[in-house]
C-alpha cells in the first residue's frame, strides 16, 4: 500500500536573526530553488507543494500559502499548509512524504519557514488572552520547570546542559547555514552566561531566526533516475497528546515515546542506539538532548545524560546528535523541524560537508511542538530497505 519515497534534494537559507535582504517570498524561494536544484530538477517538475509554518501572527500574514503560491511555483497545483506548532516542520515532511507514499504524486516540494524578524517571537508567544494570568515568559519559561523535574528525577549532574550547548554550537560552526557560529564556546563560558529561566542559561537557549528549509521528495522511479544519492524514507510517525492532563509526564511524554516506538517498528529497528548512525533531534534548550534520548529509546529513562556526558553524542561518538548545530544554533520556528528531517537526509546522502558523519547510512529526523505534545519523526537511509 505505502509506495517507496525518497528525498531527492534539500535546500535551506543562511539562517540569521534578520534576513533584511529578502521578502517572505524571497526567503522561501531561496530554500526552494536550492532544493530543486539539488534534486537536479526545475520547479515545473514539481507536482504538489506542502507549506509548513508556525503561527501566522509571527509574520502578520493570514494563511501565507495564498500569497506564496506564485513564488513557490504552486499556481495551478495542489498546495497544502500544515500547522502543528513547533513540530510543523516535521509534519510538513511527513505530509509531503505521504502524498508520494499514497501514490498520488511523483515529486512533491515541502517548504517550511519562519521570518520571525517581522515581529517579535516572545511577543507573539506571550499574548495572554483575557482572564489568564501571564506567568509564563515565553517558551523557555514553559520548559525550564520540566528541565528541573528531569534533573531531579534522573539525578543528572548540573553541567550536562552546558555540555550539550558547547557541542551543538561548535557543530554549528561547521555548518555554513547555521545562525550561530561559535567555534570558541566553552563549558566555562556557557556556565558564566546569564541565567534566563533558572535552570536554563542564555547560552543553552535557541536563538530566534529567520530561515527556510525545503525538501524535494520523489517516488521510486524518480529516486532511481537520480544522478546523485537519495535518502530513502524508511519510516514516518506522528503522535499528539493534550497540552495538559492529569498524570501527564511532561519530562518523558507518552506521545513522543509512542511515536518513536511506532517509528522503530515501521523501520524494522530493534536497537536504535546501534542501528541509527546519526540523529537530528529537536533540542531548543540544551537539557532536551538527554530528555529526548530517553523519550526516543536511545537510553533507558534516567540514563540519557550519561550518553551526553561520555561524549557519545558528539561528532565521533557512538550516536552523533545534531551535527548540524541543531535548534540551538538556528531556530526559524516553522522550519526547524524540517531542518532536522533535511539534515538527517543530508547525512545519508553524504552531502553534509564539514559536519558529515563518515559512513552514515541510517539517520533519524525528529521534531516536537506545543507543550511537549506534538511529535513527528522520520528515519531515512541510503538504501531502500
Amino acid at each position: 500500500m505505502r509506495q517507496p519515497a525518497a528525498v531527492l534534494g534539500i535546500g535551506q537559507t543562511r539562517h540569521r536573526s534578520k534576513r533584511t535582504d529578502v521578502s517572505i517570498a524571497g526567503l522561501c524561494r531561496e530554500a526552494a530553488d536550492r532544493a530543486v536544484q539539488d534534486a537536479g530538477l526545475e520547479l515545473t517538475d514539481i507536482d504538489a507543494v506542502v507549506v509548513g509554518k508556525a503561527p501566522d501572527l509571527f509574520e502578520g500574514v493570514m494563511m501565507p500559502e495564498l500569497y506564496l503560491a506564485d513564488a513557490l511555483g504552486a499556481t495551478g497545483k495542489p498546495l497544502l499548509r500544515v500547522h502543528t506548532a513547533g513540530s510543523v516542520g516535521g509534519a510538513t515532511g511527513n505530509v509531503a512524504a505521504s502524498l508520494v507514499q499514497a501514490g498520488l504524486h511523483r515529486r512533491v516540494l515541502a517548504v517550511a519557514f519562519e521570518k520571525q524578524s517581522e515581529s517579535n517571537a516572545m511577543w507573539a508567544l506571550s499574548i495572554a488572552p483575557p482572564f489568564s494570568i501571564p506567568v509564563v515568559a515565553g517558551a523557555g519559561g514553559y520548559f525550564a520547570p520540566h528541565i528541573r523535574a528531569y534533573i531531579r528525577r534522573s539525578g543528572a549532574p548540573p553541567h550536562i546542559g552546558a555540555l550539550v550547548a558547547v557541542k551543538d554550537r561548535r557543530n554549528g560552526a561547521l555548518n555554513p547555514y547555521a545562525h550561530l557560529q561559535q567555534a570558541d564556546i566553552t563549558l566555562e563560558s556557557v556556565q558564566a552566561s546569564p541565567m534566563l529561566w533558572d535552570p536554563v542559561r542564555y547560552d543553552e537557549t535557541c536563538p530566534s531566526s529567520d530561515g527556510a528549509c525545503a525538501v524535494v521528495i520523489g517516488d521510486e522511479e524518480a529516486a532511481r533516475a537520480s544522478q546523485a544519492p537519495v535518502a530513502w524514507i524508511r519510516a514516518t510517525a506522528m503522535r499528539s497528546e493534550p497540552t495538559m492532563f492529569a498524570g501527564k509526564d511532561h519530562v518523558n511524554p507518552a506521545a513522543g515515546g509512542e511515536a518513536a516506538a511506532a517509528l522503530w517498528r515501521q523501520a524494522g529497528i530493534t536497537d536504535p542506539l546501534n542501528e541509527i548512525d546519526v540523529a537530528e533531534i529537536y533540542v531548543p534548550f540544551s537539557w532536551y538532548e538527554p530528555m529526548w534520548l530517553e523519550n526516543l529509546g536511545f537510553a533507558e529513562p534516567g540514563r540519557g545524560w550519561r550518553l551526553t556526558e561520555a561524549g557519545e553524542t558528539a561528532l565521533g561518538g557512538r550516536l552523533p546528535v545534531n551535527p548540524s548545530g541543531g535548534v540551538l544554533s538556528s531556530n526559524p520556528i516553522g522550519a526547524s523541524g524540517l531542518l532536522r528531517f533535511a539534515e538527517a537526509a543530508l547525512q545519508v546522502m553524504g552531502k553534509a560537508g564539514a559536519h558529515q558523519v563518515p559512513g552514515a547510512r541510517t539517520a533519524l529526523g525528529h521534531a516536537y511542538g506545543g507543550g511537549s505534545q506534538f511529535f513527528s519523526m522520520w528515519v531515512v537511509a541510503s538504501t531502500p530497505s
Partner: protein
C-alpha cells in the same frame, strides 16, 4: 487504489453563539458524540485525526491546540492540523488512509467568527506588501468580482438574488442553517446595497460553527454504514494570489480540480462518469455560485446547494467540510447516486477543492 468512503457527518447549528469559545471544544464535543453514536465508533477506533481552523479568528497563536481536548488524546493519537478549511484536513486524512497507516479517520473544523471583525481580518490574506496595508475587506473584494461579471453580462443582480432566494428556501429543510425562509426576488432587490453591487442577501452571514466527517477504508466502511459515500475523486488546486493578474471571472483551479476528479473516476470505472445529482458548493457570495457552476460544468439538472449552502450558514474553516458532509449525506440517505462537495479558500475563489462521491 484503496476505496475510501464517508461514513459519518455531523455539524453544529450555525449561528452567533455566546456560549462557545474560539477553542472550538464546546462546539466539537457534541458533534463528535453525535457522529460516534451514528457509526457505533469510539475515539479508540479513529486511526488518524486532522483539523482545520485559523488562529486569526481567535486572536491568539496556537488556538487549534486546545481543540485537541475534544479528542481525548490519551492514549496519544495520530493527529495533524492544517491552517485551512477542514476540507483540506479531510484531504490529508484521505491521503493517510491511502498510505495504509489508518483505516478510519476523522476530520473536523471549527470557527467562531462572531468574536472577530471577520471581513477585516480576512484582509490579512492578501499580499502583505502591496495590498493588505490598505485593509481591503473580504466583502469588498467579492464585490469587485461581482461587478466584473455584471459588466461582462455574465449575470445580473436579479440572477444573484435568484441564487439567494432559492438558497434560503432550500435551507428551510436544513435545521442547522442560520438563515432560511421564503423570500421573493423582487423583495430582495428592493433592499439596499451593503457594498455595491452586493446586498446583504448576496453575502454569507457571520456565524459560529463546527463540522466533523468520518471516512473509512473499504471493508470498514461497509461495516459502519449501510450506504457509504465512496470517494471517487478528491482534487484541489490553487490560483495566483495576485488579484489584479488573475481573471476573476474564471476559476481555473476549480475547473482543473473538477476535471481531474472526472479523469480519476473514468480511470476507475473504465468509462466517462455519469452526471452529478447533487452539488454542494462553498460559495459565500451569490455570484460565486454562478461562477462555480460554470467552472465545474454543472448542468441545469444538478441540484445545487439543497442545504442552502454557505449563503445560509458559513462557519469559517468548517463550511467547506460541511459541504462535503452534506453531499455525502445525500448519497448515504439514498437520495442521490453521485454527488460533489466543493470547498474554497482565499479571496475571490483563489483555491478550490472538489470531492466527488458515489453510491456503489
Amino acid at each position: 487504489m484503496t476505496g475510501v468512503a464517508v461514513v459519518g457527518f455531523a455539524q453544529t447549528p450555525c449561528r452567533v453563539r455566546e456560549d462557545v469559545t474560539t477553542s472550538g471544544v464546546e462546539m466539537l464535543v457534541p458533534i463528535f458524540a453525535e457522529v460516534f453514536r451514528a457509526t457505533g465508533l469510539t475515539k479508540a477506533d479513529i486511526g488518524f485525526w486532522c483539523s482545520g481552523s485559523s488562529d486569526y479568528l481567535a486572536g491568539r497563536a496556537f488556538s487549534f491546540v486546545q481543540a485537541v481536548d475534544a479528542i481525548g488524546a490519551v492514549p496519544p493519537a495520530m493527529e495533524s492540523h492544517v491552517e485551512m478549511d477542514a476540507a483540506w484536513a479531510l484531504y490529508e486524512a484521505w491521503v493517510k488512509i491511502l498510505t495504509g497507516e489508518a483505516e478510519i479517520a476523522l476530520a473536523y473544523g471549527f470557527g467562531k467568527s462572531s468574536g472577530a471583525q471577520l471581513r477585516r481580518v480576512l484582509a490579512l490574506q492578501l499580499d502583505p506588501y502591496l495590498v493588505a496595508p490598505l485593509w481591503p475587506d473580504s466583502v469588498s473584494i467579492a464585490a469587485l468580482q461581482a461587478r466584473l461579471g455584471l459588466d461582462a453580462g455574465r449575470w445580473t443582480e436579479k440572477d444573484m438574488a435568484t441564487v439567494a432566494a432559492r438558497s434560503q428556501t432550500a435551507a428551510q429543510s436544513n435545521p442547522q442553517a442560520q438563515v432560511s425562509g421564503h423570500v421573493t426576488i423582487s423583495e430582495l432587490l428592493e433592499r439596499p446595497y451593503v457594498a455595491e453591487p452586493l446586498r446583504a442577501h448576496d453575502c454569507a452571514p457571520v456565524g459560529d460553527g463546527a463540522a466533523v466527517v468520518i471516512i473509512a477504508a473499504a471493508d470498514r466502511a461497509r461495516e459502519l454504514c449501510a450506504r457509504p459515500a465512496w470517494i471517487t475523486g478528491f482534487e484541489h488546486r490553487i490560483d495566483s494570489g495576485a488579484l489584479g493578474a488573475r481573471d476573476l471571472l474564471a476559476v481555473p483551479s476549480a475547473t482543473a480540480a473538477g476535471l481531474a476528479c472526472a479523469a480519476r473516476a473514468a480511470g476507475a470505472h473504465g468509462h466517462r462518469p455519469d452526471g452529478i445529482d447533487v452539488a454542494e458548493l462553498h460559495a459565500p457570495f451569490t455570484h460565486q455560485e454562478l461562477l462555480l457552476r460554470a467552472a465545474l460544468r454543472l448542468g441545469d439538472g444538478v441540484d445545487v446547494n439543497p442545504s442552502g449552502g454557505a449563503l445560509c450558514g458559513n462557519p469559517m474553516f468548517a463550511a467547506g467540510l460541511a459541504r462535503i458532509g452534506m453531499a455525502a449525506r445525500a448519497v448515504m440517505s439514498g437520495r442521490a447516486g453521485r454527488t460533489l462537495g466543493h470547498a474554497t479558500s482565499g479571496p475571490a475563489l483563489q483555491q478550490n477543492l472538489v470531492c466527488v462521491m458515489e453510491a456503489q
